[in-house]
């Protein structure tokens, strides 16, 4: 039903902010001459209550159906005037602003030129206003549950947060145990290991009926939109059930022997194994990827805890939001990088952490290659900060603190062992600075390199580190018994599996990208999918925990009202014109568009709850069938044409 536009134009003086430069009276008189303008007024402060009442009264008394306010920037008062318009019974999207303050009176000194420009801007706003259409804010109900992908420290924190506030949580972890990297390595401070934090958090998870833990599980499908996701997970068989009492007899007879990823390759394990002492679920598991199903373990198990016929199963979960907290991988030095792979005394920081862990393969004894080293050197920034050709460009954030904590502990436990830290810069930020001082007090020797990374030399006399020391400006050679490469953090090698299912995207450094570092931290660009922990980049344990809380808070905010409100200025398909050419589908960064068959025709379909209103599809649509509500082609064209009178 076409109704003739009846436009009211209101020109704000903004005190003297506008009126001192722009001749507001002249502009109001000009506005009256524009077609479809029924009334044009000027007033000292349009955003004030009397100002807003001018609009409301005119809507009621003059039957206005469009309103234009020429004043400050819409970023200031668009919501104010929209509310005013709505309260007078007019759809709030039948309102347009002309920015004659920030874009005019404040930046142009010449009264005549500023006034002429103000007239142009108002004419453009009126041209668009003529073509505005009422828009709805659609609501969708939500599921009050969240799927947390990743059972590491940030995922666990997020799960606890969510459960605390009444949301059901599905905690889905790919490996057979919760805990992630922090259960194995890392420190919160000199006294507290990551594993202690993990253990405490796992206790809380155990007791929480709202948190449903799925280990040995993967997310294989994600359909739907924010608030209304249908997720599918696949639970791989453990083959071992809770009857297991961890006696370990099965382990003795298992013929399969592989490198133990829980010790970062320092030790070996069998196909049937217990990941680590604090693992949850707290019993053995069979690695379904390497098990030969020989049945030896079943034979010796006295508790009937093993069933090799267990099949993978798939579960459908209805969730309102997803939190991706899948963590990171340790950088793997190339063979030969700092001579890694050519000598058993050259290990990584992650491996050292396992050695120093009282629960680790050597019960906390610093035994490398059978002996306690008399001297040990850490080389920092391995795999980070462009030190070597294969290194990443960023700083991995936690390696300096971890290396220094380890150095302090070694000096404490083995006072006769010399410890060197060979660094480019020491990045112990915040309160970790005190660790740096403590290390110095304990006679850890800090040796600096600059451009050239140190060289690890393997000779019949032993290991040496050759470098150009920057502070004394001399080439030096340090003989050492063992070398620890402080390797950094890289994105998980299997991250593509997550990306494929959730369609989130990577940033420049390969980690997952947050929607906007400043405006939307902990959010992925997809509405309803949040990010926590090291999946977005290197962090220490506390930072990961905080981000887990942040992501949980964001998920709760999304779901808290019981409904989601879709963005109204979204893409819209004219089905009479759409030919299903599908150009739009690949253009949408939110995967909001798909091709559906309507009466036998291919037609583009916009998932309204997913569309964020960028308009890229509208500009790409070759037939003009796709338009953006509120920014339609004809509305923008009208502004272009009106710019010239």
């Amino acid at each position: 039903m076409y109704e003739e536009p009846r436009i009211g134009v209101y020109i704000c003086h903004c005190g003297l902010n506008i009126a001192a430069t722009v001749d507001v009276k002249e502009v109001a008189e000009y506005a009256k001459t524009l077609p479809n303008v029924v009334v044009a007024r000027d007033y000292v402060f349009m955003c004030s209550e009397p100002g807003q009442n001018l609009i409301k009264d005119d809507i009621k008394n003059l039957g206005l159906n469009r309103v234009v306010v020429a004043a400050c920037s819409p970023s200031m008062h668009e919501p104010t005037f929209r509310s005013a318009v709505e309260s007078a019974g007019l759809n709030k999207y039948l309102f347009e602003m002309a920015n004659i303050r920030e874009h005019c009176s404040w930046v142009h000194g010449d009264r005549k030129l500023a006034t002429e420009k103000a007239k142009d801007l108002i004419r453009m706003a009126v041209a668009k206003a003529r073509l505005l259409e009422p828009l709805e804010e659609k609501e969708f109900p939500v599921y009050n549950s969240v799927l947390v992908l990743g059972g590491g420290v940030s995922g666990i924190r997020a799960a606890l947060e969510l459960a605390r506030y009444g949301f059901d949580v599905y905690l889905v972890e790919r490996s057979p145990t919760l805990g992630g990297k922090a259960a194995l390595i890392g420190h919160v401070d000199l006294q507290t290991r990551g594993s202690e934090v993990i253990n405490k958090m796992i206790e809380l998870i155990k007791r929480n009926p709202r948190i449903h833990v799925f280990t040995n599980s993967e997310l294989i499908e994600l359909k739907g939109f924010a608030g209304n996701y249908e997720a599918k997970i696949r639970v791989y068989p453990r083959y071992v059930n809770e009857r297991c009492n961890s006696c370990g007899e099965c382990e003795e007879v298992c013929p399969v022997d592989v490198a133990n990823e829980y010790d970062f390759g320092l030790s070996r394990r069998k196909a049937i194994f217990l990941p680590f002492r604090g693992a949850y679920p707290p019993y053995y598991v069979v690695d379904h990827r390497v098990c030969t199903k020989c049945g030896e373990c079943v034979r010796v198990c006295r508790f009937n805890a093993i069933d090799l016929s267990e099949e993978p199963r798939e579960l459908g979960l209805k969730v309102g939001a997803l939190i991706i907290a899948t963590g990171y991988d340790a950088y793997r030095p190339l063979k030969g990088e700092y001579s890694h792979g050519f000598h058993n005394n050259i290990i990584t920081l992650f491996q050292l952490e396992r050695l120093l862990d009282p629960e680790g393969p050597t019960r906390g004894e610093l035994v490398i290659n059978g002996r306690i080293p008399k001297s040990i050197a850490f080389i920092q920034c391995v795999g980070s900060r462009n030190t070597t050709p294969n290194a990443r460009s960023y700083c991995s954030r936690m390696c300096c603190t971890t290396a220094i904590i380890d150095a302090i502990k070694i000096r404490e436990k083995y006072p006769n062992t010399d410890v060197y830290i060979i660094y480019k810069d020491i990045m112990t930020y915040g309160s970790d600075e005190s660790l740096y001082l403590e290390a110095g007090r304990r006679l850890v020797r800090f040796v600096k390199f600059e451009e050239e990374p140190p060289n690890v030399v393997i000779s019949p006399e032993g290991l040496f580190i050759d470098l150009y020391e920057y502070t004394i400006q001399e080439r030096i050679r340090i003989p050492v018994d063992a070398v620890v490469l402080s390797t950094g953090m890289v994105p998980r090698r299997d991250l593509d599996d997550v990306i494929r299912v959730t369609r989130v995207s990577r940033g420049g450094d390969g980690f997952l990208r947050e929607a906007h570092l400043k405006l939307a931290p902990a959010e992925s660009p997809t509405k309803g999918i949040f990010l926590a922990g090291t999946v977005t980049g290197p962090k220490n344990i506390m930072e990961s925990i905080r981000m887990g809380s942040a992501a949980a808070a964001k998920a709760m905010a999304l779901l808290s009202k019981g409904k989601v409100i879709a963005e109204p200025m979204i893409a819209n398909v004219n089905e009479d014109i759409c030919s299903g050419c599908a150009i739009c589908v690949g253009v949408c960064p939110y995967d909001a568009i798909s091709i559906k068959i309507v009466d036998g025709d291919r037609i583009a379909h916009v998932e309204e709850a997913l569309c964020m209103g960028c308009g890229s599809c509208a500009a790409a649509c070759p037939s003009g069938a796709m338009q953006q509500l509120g920014f339609k082609d004809r509305q923008l064209r009208a502004q272009v044409l009106a710019a010239f009178g």
Binding site: V107, H108, D110, K117, P525, C614, F631, Q639, F644
Partner: protein, 141 residues
């Protein structure tokens, strides 16, 4: 060039970055030439090359399309990627159609770059004053 020729420039500014930068120039009271008319879009990815051609046809002497810095600033992730792809090709079209390079700019201006906005405007106004009005060249002379 005609004396006192004041070029008319149409600007498509994305809401989250460039429009905010223009606002910031205003709040900072930075004075710059009056010749620009800003049209607000939510994202530079909304800008259809047809609009730019229309602007030139109707009397714009210059057109600017401005959005958020790639690769990471776009509020909608990759809208600016589309603007980049389109207007990189568009330049070639303008070349073939005899429209001087100075008449069209694709710029990345973040919300804090009021100075860059002013610089871009000044540069274009100066260039266009030297080139003269486009309108005259639309007719065969």
């Amino acid at each position: 060039m005609s004396e006192g020729f004041e070029p008319k420039i149409v600007v498509f500014a994305c809401n989250w970055c460039t429009y905010a930068a223009v606002d910031l120039a205003g709040t900072s009271r930075i004075q710059y030439p009056h010749n620009v008319r800003v049209i607000r879009v939510m994202c530079s990815g909304r800008v259809d090359p047809q609009f730019v051609l229309e602007a030139f046809n109707r009397g714009a002497d210059g057109v600017i399309v401005a959005g958020c810095h790639p690769p990471a600033d776009c509020h909608y992730s990759e809208g600016n990627f589309k603007a980049f792809r389109r207007f990189t090709l568009f330049r070639r079209l303008l070349d073939s159609l005899g429209i001087e390079r100075e008449r069209f700019k694709l710029e990345w201006i973040s919300a804090s770059e009021a100075g860059k906005w002013v610089q871009v405007v000044n540069e274009m106004v100066n260039d266009l004053k030297k080139l003269g009005p486009l309108r005259e060249k639309l007719e065969v002379r």
